[in-house]
């Protein structure tokens, strides 16, 4: 049988890029249909197709790498570059929202009362739940590092414990933040303060949920023996993403919660 003489992975044809593109089309047009014609059918179909695409695409990558051995060191290096570039693009995404926040808060307009927080806005006390949230995420950064070292040291039980703890801390953050959102004395409709607060922290919360999901997938894979002590890039990618989420929170906390109060 003719075999390749190079270390790279020439992937087989796959339908998932197409289904992903169709999902994007259905979700965006579905959003417009929802706004104008009061129907969520198209958007829901798009969301379902998106979830199916993600599940099957990433399942195929696991099959190709873990079960078929296509992820040689050069291929893994490419995956690392890819994840780093993706996280960098997300950094720029958040940078935009921080720009918006500082634009409005450094020179508050007369309509706001010429002050920040604007007149009438009662900001959240940064030393209450937000500080707890900071501790929770920092602790989760420690536990995910513990999990990584456990993998490299071939400690199966500790890896599972540390990874589970990381995910639980992530859920705890999400639950606390949800409660904060419910109890907050201001809403997204409360001027530019509300807009910048909820859009920035809202997207961050979404990324916490995404990161927790990624870690949960890693936990399932770890339980099923996918990772080796030398080759566990899926886990490393999840850990990088999780640290990124933590760092974004630190900037949010210092800028919006603390300085912004």
């Amino acid at each position: 049988m003719a075999r390749q003489a190079h270390a790279y992975h020439m992937v087989d044809p796959s339908p998932w890029p197409l289904t992903g593109a169709v999902a994007a089309l259905l979700m965006t047009s579905g959003l417009a249909v929802w706004f104008h014609f009061n129907s969520t059918v198209l958007m829901t179909m798009g969301l379902a197709l998106l979830l199916l695409t993600m599940y099957q695409w990433w399942r195929d990558i696991i099959r190709e790498g873990t079960f078929q051995g296509h992820h040689t060191p050069p291929v893994q290096k490419g995956l690392r570059y890819g994840m780093i570039l993706f996280i960098t693009s997300e950094v720029f995404f958040f940078l935009g929202f921080f720009w918006a926040f500082y634009h409005s808060s450094l020179a508050p307009t007369p309509e706001l009362g010429g002050c920040w927080p604007p007149t009438g806005i009662i900001p959240l006390d940064p030393f209450e739940v937000p500080l707890l949230n900071t501790a929770v995420l920092l602790a989760s950064g420690v536990t995910v590092t513990w999990a990584h070292h456990s993998i490299m040291e071939r400690e199966r039980k500790q890896t599972i414990q540390a990874l589970t703890l990381t995910i639980l801390l992530g859920f705890y953050f999400t639950a606390l933040q949800a409660m904060e959102y419910y109890e907050a004395p201001f809403t997204i409709a409360d001027g530019v303060y509300g807009s910048t607060f909820f859009v920035a922290t809202g997207f961050h919360g979404l990324h916490v949920i995404i990161g927790s999901t990624f870690l949960a997938v890693c936990l399932l894979r770890q339980i099923q023996y996918h990772f080796t002590s030398e080759h566990h890039f899926g886990f490393e990618a999840a850990a990088w993403y999780w640290h990124f989420v933590d760092v974004v929170w630190l900037f949010l906390y210092v800028s919006i919660y603390w300085w912004g109060s």
């Binding site: 390749q4 003489a5 051995g69 040689t72 993998i151 071939r154 990772f227 002590s229 080759h231």
Partner: protein, 94 residues
């Protein structure tokens, strides 16, 4: 515990790993060995066929690569700088 790569790797990843342990590099993952390129110490070029393309960067910082086919048998020389190259047969791991 957690398996090692040696215990659990499969397919191309395993073949590359096992070859590397034996000091070989059939998939050209690493930088080639350095040779003087003289007639006594020609560049050894592994090949799975009986000829292989060679690209010679005659001097450091040259912007033009000199490409030529290297055939099995006696060492051949780069048409530009005269460095010696010799084809060696190697099989891909099974």
């Amino acid at each position: 515990g957690i398996p090692t790569n040696e215990e659990q790797a499969t397919g191309l990843e395993l073949r590359a790993l096992l070859a590397q342990k034996k000091g070989k590099d059939p998939y050209s993952i690493f930088r080639p060995k350095e040779y003087a390129g003289t007639s006594e110490d020609p560049h050894m070029v592994p090949s799975i066929g009986d000829k292989r393309l060679v690209g010679c960067l005659c001097e450091e910082d040259n912007t033009a690569i000199v490409w030529f086919w290297l055939h099995e048998g006696n060492p051949e020389r780069c048409p530009s700088c005269g460095s010696h190259y010799k084809l060696i047969h190697e099989e891909l791991p099974h």
